[in-house]
Symmetry: none
Subunit: 240 residues, 2 copies
DNA sequence: ATCCAAACGTTCATTTTTTATCATTTTCTT
DNA sequence: AAGAAAATGATAAAAAATGAACGTTTGGAT
């Protein structure tokens, strides 16, 4: 059992039992009490638990709650299926650009921490999910777009420009009949363009609600991509 | 039953019964009356209860709502008080650097969106809270530190170096007798240094548990700051 | 005012937990 | 494969929590 696994287990136990003692945890996890104490110290430094003489309790910290994770009521089965397909395309050890779309953030749910993947994203959802799953992650930084969980602007651009990835996954507001992918956000479009330029392979995640829709800002054309991952058979009329 | 649990239970009982006696609590919680007295002393020090000869009652503060009473976050009370003080120091329209410490992130809870404040932070908690409250926010970006919610590294550094703020609030692992502020994380220390250099006013948030502790990396000296916000009167012996 | 019982605080011994130090094992790096 | 770094466990010393004993204070009753 690796250390992270034990730390997670401690939190799990506390979520069930609310309070626990050092000895109890030591017996449950088959380690010495002193090890549990060291674990708890770390958890406390990270603001996850409250320790006291002899035991621990969960710190239900409002800061810890990541609203977007619990708040996925529009539980998109289709988006998840797409994300699962996408996750299957990621080889061990690779580096991956992810944009700030919710579709793409589902990819994180399908990733195994053991595959040693590194993600780079301007999405707060994706970053949070990666952190929870102990997947290596970089944030591009940038300005928080109001009513969204995307980071954009000069800071994000500069960060993305300085990095190169093996794969990129992104989504967007629409894709036209003839394969033009467009979005309504200028800043996110710009960022996606740089990500596209700085990665080896590119995949567009597209649920069928986006087919045939067009918006103001042009991201790229489907022919420039390695694949369009869609829940309906997709082919664009050649743009000649 | 661990101590935290007992303290929580006392608050719970008081919420139901409004008033209680030492003996009553002692019987309910299977400990000696002395122990209850010692517990109550602690709770009183944290402003959670009022004791008097013969009994206890919940402290209810007439002027301000005290959400801490209903939420049982005994150990965070002090941090919140510090954060509240800090929030009071932020003028409308200003731009503020916040580090990734949990103490500092509580400042967001005390900020009014109407004050049109802009924050810049490398903390994921702070960013999340700001987004929720529709407070303008910039993320520095950077590498996610495992088991933490801090962003660091070259990306974060570059972002911070390119920005200037009116105020900076930060915390750290320790402050020594003679006023040296230190931390155990090198990368976060470096980032704090740049934030300090790039802001007009600087404030250190320090709960008393940090007094007299020293760590490897030196952030700054208290004399370089505009104030140290602490729950205990703080003054450092002058370093000649 | 005086007295009394209950409540309180202090000191101390006991038990339990934590910290510190060191040896051992495991893991990572080169 | 060898060496360095990290994690773990064992042991002893330090610190904390608890409860008992005993003296002091409090609030009321006489």
């Amino acid at each position: 059992m690796i250390k992270n696994e034990r730390l997670d287990k401690i939190i799990e136990i506390l979520e069930k039992e609310n309070y626990s003692t050092v000895d109890h945890l030591a017996k449950l996890l088959f380690v010495a009490p002193v090890t549990i104490r060291r674990d708890l110290k770390k958890l406390e430094q990270n603001g996850l638990v409250n320790t006291c003489y002899g035991g621990v309790s969960l710190m239900h910290d409002p800061n810890k709650e990541t609203p977007w994770i619990t708040r996925k009521k529009f539980n998109n089965v289709i988006k998840k299926q797409l994300a699962k397909k996408a996750a299957g395309l990621i080889p061990s050890g690779s580096t991956v650009f992810l944009d700030a779309s919710s579709t793409v953030s589902y990819i994180l749910e399908c990733l195994e921490p053991e595959k040693n993947i590194t993600i780079i994203t301007n999405g707060m959802q994706a970053l949070s999910l990666a952190t929870q799953k102990h997947i290596k992650a970089y944030s591009t930084g940038g300005k928080v777009v109001d009513n969204s969980f995307a980071l954009t602007g000069a800071i994000a651009m500069r960060a993305v420009q300085s990095m190169y990835a093996n794969l990129m996954f992104f989504s967007s507001n629409g894709i036209s009949q003839d394969g033009h992918i467009t979005d309504q956000s200028e800043s996110e479009t710009e960022l996606r363009k740089v990500m596209l330029a700085n990665s080896d392979k590119r995949y567009f995640l597209c649920d069928s609600s986006k087919l045939g829709k067009s918006f103001l800002f042009h991201v790229c054309h489907a022919s420039e991509l390695d694949d369009v991952i869609c829940d309906q058979p997709f082919s664009f009329s050649s743009p000649i």
